[in-house]
């Protein structure tokens, strides 16, 4: 039997629809839909392998309403052979846990599980634009019991295994993943091909196979709103405090610079004084999500059933804990204090000598050290085995992870294993309570995991009543607590039992840029460049502007977009964006950056934003305070000259 390649795909409202409404807002009633952007990269990977294995069968699989057929047809037109849709009203309201379960049930029924004799590969996109969790691929793999690699940007098919390049904090790792497996593809991989006319004609004549939940044999009580371990308790609009962009006009670069300077003068108090959002921004934000004490007198029920303690995972980059792992100790500490319990941090790695005391100094009460040569480099399966066993053993009420590429795949896979709910990429974590009107009960103390959603236009509060209540926290959102070497804590060792299959994936190579870039978290002005800024002058002007500002006594630094980093113009440590750093300087200057959603995620909380781009259509202008449509090579020299003459964008100098 030949190779089968399955691609998971979701249909989402078109992002451009957000700008197409008559009032400038997204009109969901008329919103056109399309294949989720990341999924198109997954689809392409399947087609790439088919070039090598021409008799491989390509199957596109989706779950959703029958309107998804439109996108399934497009996948067929691109070259997929079969389209399968799981469509059932019972699935409405499913969270990622339930979705992973339902999709895995369908796939098993289609003949794909770890017991299958025939080789198969499952591709998916990294995450969806409407959910942004990146959970479903991991949770599907867990339910199928097969190895996975997420955030992958390069795939080589080698017969019985794949060689993949996976993005990690600070660089990438090259993994050897045995078939069968699930691979989620990052949007830096090869973009999807266009459908061919021949394919479109074939697609029109190919029927989509529609499955109901019953046909998959899945347990209906584990899906849908009632079966999902998480629920959205509240959604509030994020107040868009950024007014529409002020496009700077002027014919010559000199005029543009002059006019920018005078516009900046008008708002200089706002730049200099306000928006210094470094400290505990995550906590401040929650004010918007504050909820009045419940006004009902249902009986209060502690749903934890004895589960106690806050667990965090410390991700090691070689011998040092990752920044986001230390950040996560901040909310963990606060939650534990409020709940009058302990923070336990699990460290996985090898040769972990002095790490434990450092972690205690940053806020942990107890450090569990799992030291094993096989844990030297992060791999999801053994780490998941460690933490799952600890959770089953100790039953913590809360488990928190940094939302790095590792944390974001580990947490959902774990959640599916220990049957818990997980919330992705949170910007605020609080203790609250929830009045369950149907059950006439007030549940407490619930973890309120608050995260931006719907294209970052809303703030959703997600809760669940299954322990541990799990969440990943967006990097750069929480401030690392001051190091206190006098803090006392306990250090324990823990020896989990591994199965051979936990080590099925081999790490062939790891490349990590040596540290650096941490100043981006505290800089007042960040000038970031996109790929064109590298193509044209290798970031020379950008660095010059940063230097000129530093010479004026301003804490300025420079960053880069994902594309610029990929092309080697800047080290990963300087990457701003969802898979890079989340920064909040007082002023962010985006130079030749188009404004892809993944970049915006990393900088849109900046105080003021200036965008310089030749392309007037660039999305960055919709998220900027000031826009200049011009070649940066003409504008930056003018700005550099002005900075040298003393202009500091309204910021006080330390000179």
């Amino acid at each position: 039997m030949g190779l089968k390649i399955i691609c998971l795909m979701k249909q989402v409202p078109l992002p451009t629809e957000m700008r197409m409404g008559a009032d400038g807002l997204m009109d969901r009633t008329k919103a056109k839909s399309s294949i989720n952007a990341d999924c198109t990269f997954g689809l392409e990977q399947g087609l790439e392998i088919k070039k090598q294995v021409p008799d491989a069968e390509l199957i596109v699989v989706s779950m959703g309403p029958t309107s998804f057929e439109q996108s399934l047809k497009k996948a067929l037109a691109m070259g997929y052979d079969r389209a399968v849709l799981l469509s059932d009203r019972k699935l409405g309201g499913s969270d990622t846990f339930a979705t992973g379960y339902a999709i895995a049930s369908l796939l098993k029924k289609l003949g794909f599980s770890k017991e299958s004799k025939d080789p198969f590969i499952i591709f998916s996109g990294r995450q969806t634009t409407d959910g942004d969790t990146a959970h479903v691929p991991s949770q599907t793999a867990e339910n199928l019991g097969i190895p996975q690699a997420t955030f992958v940007e390069k795939v080589e098919f080698k017969g019985d295994h794949l060689k993949v390049r996976r993005i990690i904090e600070g660089g990438f790792q090259v993994l050897k993943v045995p078939v069968p497996c699930l691979i989620s593809i990052a949007p830096t991989a090869t973009p999807a091909r266009r459908p061919s006319l021949k394919g479109a004609i074939r697609a029109k004549n190919t029927k989509t196979e529609i499955w109901t939940l019953d046909q998959t044999g899945a347990d209906a009580s584990v899906v849908g709103l009632s079966g999902s371990p998480t629920l959205v308790s509240k959604v509030v609009d994020i107040q868009k405090d950024r007014p529409p962009v002020n496009m700077i006009s002027g014919h010559e670069p000199k005029d543009l610079a002059a006019s920018l300077v005078s516009e900046i003068e008008k708002v200089k108090d706002a730049i200099g004084g306000g928006h210094g959002q470094h400290a505990g921004a995550g906590d401040e934000k929650s004010a918007a999500g504050e909820k009045a004490k419940t006004d009902v007198d249902f009986p209060r029920v502690d749903f934890r059933n004895g589960a106690r303690g806050v667990l965090t995972w410390i991700e090691m980059l070689g011998q040092t804990p990752s920044r986001s792992s230390l950040e996560i100790l901040n909310p963990a500490r606060k939650l534990a204090d409020q709940l009058q319990t302990q923070v336990t941090a699990i460290v996985t790695g090898h040769n972990l000598k002095d790490v434990a005391s450092e972690i205690i100094a940053y806020g942990a009460d107890e450090v569990v050290v799992v030291d094993d040569p096989r844990l030297k480099e992060y791999r999801i399966l053994p780490v998941a085995a460690v933490i799952a066993q600890w959770i089953e053993h100790k039953r913590p009420e809360i488990a928190l992870f940094g939302a790095t590429t590792s944390g974001r795949e580990l947490a959902p896979r774990l959640a599916s294993r220990v049957r818990a709910g997980v919330t992705a990429d949170c910007t605020s974590l609080k203790v609250g309570e929830y009045a369950h009107r149907m059950k006439k009960t007030v549940f407490y103390p619930v973890l309120e995991s608050i995260r931006p959603t719907y294209g970052e236009s809303k703030l959703a509060t997600i809760i669940g009543f299954w322990c541990p209540q799990m969440a990943t926290a967006r990097a750069g959102t929480f401030k690392i607590l001051p190091k206190d070497p006098s803090r006392k804590g306990t250090v324990r060792e823990f020896t989990p039992t591994f199965r051979e299959s936990d080590f099925a994936v081999e790490v062939l190579e790891v490349k990590r840029e040596a540290g650096g870039g941490d100043n981006l978290f505290v800089a007042d002005i960040i000038i970031s460049g996109g790929r064109p800024a590298g193509d044209h002058d290798d970031f020379k002007l950008i660095k010059e502007l940063a230097q000129a500002l530093q010479d004026q006594g301003i804490n300025a630094d420079w960053g880069a977009s994902r594309h610029a980093v990929d092309n080697g113009y800047a080290p990963y440590a300087r990457q701003v964006g969802q898979t890079g750093k989340t920064v909040r300087p007082k002023l962010y200057i985006a130079v030749a950056i188009s404004g892809a959603i993944q970049h915006l995620a990393g900088m849109k909380e900046s105080g003021k934003i200036i965008a310089i781009n030749q392309d007037p259509q660039a999305a960055i202008f919709r998220h900027a305070d000031f826009g200049i449509v011009r070649d940066y090579q003409e504008v930056l020299p003018e700005l550099i000259a002005r900075v040298k003459a003393g202009f500091t964008f309204g910021l006080a100098t330390s000179k």
């Binding site: 451009t16 973009p191 266009r194 006319l197 021949k198 479109a200 029109k204 670069p253 259509q617 070649d631």
Partner: protein, 554 residues
């Protein structure tokens, strides 16, 4: 490189606009009774049917009734019958209403429509009749066997800027058809290639064009009622420039405001987008738009040459319909009804050819014969010299037009056939223009983003997008010609004539030298550049299917 797969069909129609869909619908109807139904394939480059459709539009519904005899005209997706019409002459400050409607410009009994909406409706009808309609596919080349057209090929995708196939390369498909029908709209790229190869326009006047630029606005209830139409002459056009403005009331509080500017102008700095902005500032128009809001923007060329500019309409294996051929009635500036009629005539010819299994030019010439006998031919004949006369300016044009009316269209030219000139050949040197458009309106060209908008903002409202990874679809044949000759002599007219800011003349800060920069992603597919570049140095080619503007109801 993988080989292109072949698709076989009886009839291939390139272009899912009114002409192409009318051809498909009528042919499907004619063949409905026969035992072997022909395969009819319609390909459209827009992401959906109607997304590249742009017209005024006030239409004459007569031929639509003929095309769809089974449909109650009450069900036509029209906005409104024309209820109130006026022709105005604009001075910079005043609007003088013409006491009567000039000849051929009356719109009594006509309808205000959104052509985008109408094409979507026609596509649904066509599909119900078994026509295969595929939007999102660009056709990039004609296929020949000797001089006989045997089909066409869709564009290769997954090609980088330099034309090299990338990992996601997808070869285009060859489509082999018994008859290929070109319905690409004005200045189609296939039509241009076909004409160049087979010299179908050997005996015709050069086609002359206007560029129509329009905006769709949302106004407070009761500002401008549906079915009210206004045509204006004069400001902002100079006396030697053929052009005019229009305001049409649609349903649902929407109005369109636009101008159509003849491309035989001489001033290299004329800018149709800027002219529309200036036009909106005229007190009469500004008042209408006062409390409104811009919804959409778009631009498209209009073939105006009339009867004498029509090429030979057929050749072995191919026919040409609608705007591709230049079916347009002046001075009323109406082409939709003729697009439908030309499509129906081509369908009749195709049907006969299928019956006889003969697809030679001799057999397909039936299309031209039917056209010669048609009432349309008579109408076009009466205004056959109209546009050529106006090539001499508005005043002399009006004089010629008067003589043409009196002589049944012939006019006072000895041969009875007035000549038109290639639009591209009409420029004066920049130095020879006394007061350029830009100088004249320098003070006006400040955009407040309420009533008036800079080009880039308007382009944003066209919804246009293009894949960055593809060869530039605006092929500048010789950049040196731009630098060495065009910019010094004409000041780079492309930066002005393009209503979408595709062309930018940049000055090198160090050397002071000027150069041309392209922003192909802005293109709204109007084709003005292909027509009006003074040296014919720009060739408009199709980009990937699905790229381009996203017009909604334009």
């Amino acid at each position: 490189m993988p080989k292109s797969e072949i698709i076989e069909t009886d009839i291939l129609i390139v272009g899912g606009g009114v002409a192409g869909l009318a051809t498909a619908i009528h042919l499907a109807d004619l063949a409905a009774g026969s035992d072997k139904k022909p395969g009819i394939l319609v390909l459209e480059k827009g992401s959906s049917i109607g997304s590249h459709t742009l017209s005024g539009a006030v239409i004459d519904s007569s031929t639509l009734k003929e095309l769809l005899p089974g449909v109650d005209p009450k069900d036509f997706p029209f906005e409104s019958p024309v209820k109130k019409e006026g022709v105005y002459f604009f001075t910079p400050k005043l609007a003088l209403k013409a006491p009567f409607t000039p000849p051929f410009m009356g719109n009594h009994g006509n309808y205000v429509v959104s052509l985008g909406k109408m094409t979507r409706w026609l596509a649904e009808i066509a599909e119900k009749k078994g026509v295969q309609v595929y939007p999102g596919f660009s056709v990039s080349e004609m296929l020949y066997q000797n001089d006989r057209v045997i089909g066409a090929k869709t564009i290769d995708t997954g090609v980088d800027k330099h034309g090299k196939p990338m990992e996601n390369f997808q070869a285009g498909n060859e489509i082999h058809a018994k008859i290929t029908i070109l319905a690409e709209g004005p200045r189609g790229s296939l039509m241009k290639a076909l004409c160049g190869k087979l010299k179908l326009d050997r005996q015709s006047n050069p086609q002359v064009y206007s560029t129509g630029v329009k905006e769709l606005w949302d106004l407070p209830e009761g500002t401008f009622e549906a079915g009210r139409i206004m045509h204006t002459l004069g400001f902002p056009f100079s006396f030697n420039h053929f052009g005019g403005g229009f305001v049409y009331g649609l349903n649902g509080r929407q109005v369109v405001v636009g101008i159509a500017a003849g491309l035989d102008y001489t001033d290299p700095t004329f800018d149709s987008h800027a002219a529309l902005q200036v036009y909106k500032k005229h007190p009469f128009i500004a008042k209408i738009l006062e409390k409104g809001k811009l919804l959409r923007y778009g631009a498209k060329t209009i073939p105006e040459g009339g009867l004498y500019s029509l090429p030979k309409l057929y050749h072995d294996g191919v026919m040409i319909v609608g705007d591709s051929a230049g079916f347009l009635s002046m001075p009323s500036l109406k082409g939709v009804h003729l697009a439908i009629e030309s499509g129906m005539l081509a369908a009749k010819s195709a049907f006969e050819a299928l019956k006889k299994n003969d697809f030679s030019g001799t057999q397909l010439s039936l299309y031209e014969t039917l056209f010669q006998k048609s009432a349309t031919h008579k109408t076009l004949s009466r205004t056959r010299n109209f546009r050529a006369g106006f090539g001499h300016g508005m005043i002399l044009g009006a004089f010629y037009f008067a003589t043409q009316i009196l002589t049944g269209g012939r006019g006072i030219t000895p041969s009875g056939k007035m000549k038109t000139h290639e639009d591209a050949a009409c420029y004066k040197k920049l130095a020879d223009v006394k007061k350029t458009f830009c100088e004249k309106f320098a003070k006006e060209l400040v955009f407040d983003k309420q009533l008036t908008f800079d080009k880039v903002t308007d382009v944003y409202f066209s919804g246009s997008k293009h894949d960055e990874e593809q060869p530039c679809h605006l092929r500048v044949l010789d950049f040196n010609l731009c630098r060495e000759t065009c910019i010094p002599k004409y000041g780079g007219p492309c930066q002005h004539f393009c209503p979408a800011e595709v062309y930018e003349i940049v000055t090198d800060l160090k050397t002071g030298k000027k150069d041309l920069h392209l922003h192909p992603a802005n293109c709204v597919h109007c084709k003005t550049c292909d027509i009006k570049d003074p040296f014919g140095n720009i060739e408009w080619a199709v980009p990937y299917g699905g790229d381009g503007p996203e017009y909604e109801n334009l």
